[in-house]
Subunit: 134 residues, 2 copies
Amino acid sequence: MSDLDPGQPWLEALKWDEQGMIPAIAQDAGSGRVLMFAFMNRQSLQETVNSGSAVYWSRSRQRLWRKGEESGHAQRVRSIRTDCDGDVLLLSIDQQGGIACHTGRESCFFHQLHGGLWVAVDPVLKDPKDIYGK
Amino acid sequence: MSDLDPGQPWLEALKWDEQGMIPAIAQDAGSGRVLMFAFMNRQSLQETVNSGSAVYWSRSRQRLWRKGEESGHAQRVRSIRTDCDGDVLLLSIDQQGGIACHTGRESCFFHQLHGGLWVAVDPVLKDPKDIYGK
């Protein structure tokens, strides 16, 4: 956390949860599609602002997750908003490769409720094997 | 919870947190704007599906929150999606009155980060006093 200035008012104005996390929604600046939902801690948000590319906190891996570090599908950040409560972030981004989801789809929100079933309604644009290698 | 069938696979396919909640993003079907972020429990999601209008769980008031019950700014639900993890919902909605935020703005996401400050960048469309009465 050495590169993080704890005295930054914009950072401390946000409501961080008891784990020091804030949820973040990534929306494609071009298509308007909501692409994914993830978490940030202070360090990842600070790095996002500094670098201009989305950096999340991977709760499963317990480390910074520089989006695209393995897939190449980085997210250039155009703007960052927060809501009236300051407890969630909305990132307007340009999605490199047009694929945000690890399944090879544009958006992680590809299951739609139809007649009491979750149906995968979006196409796989690229085989995950070709994204992540073997 | 009497109107809730616990055996509904689509409901149990979702990942509910330890408080029985799932986050929900509401996106305007017309403009594509992300309007708000709130939580649902099983009962509120079931009622949302049954009624076609968004029902959230108010964590502050600890009760069902039928969006628009006080403001008139109800949300008609066009579709419900979940993400690849099944732990967040995305609602495509028609926002009655064109106002989702209790501040009288279209979207709750009206603060944008500019030069290290959160700046309110969207106009108030209606005085909250005129929305909620005195």
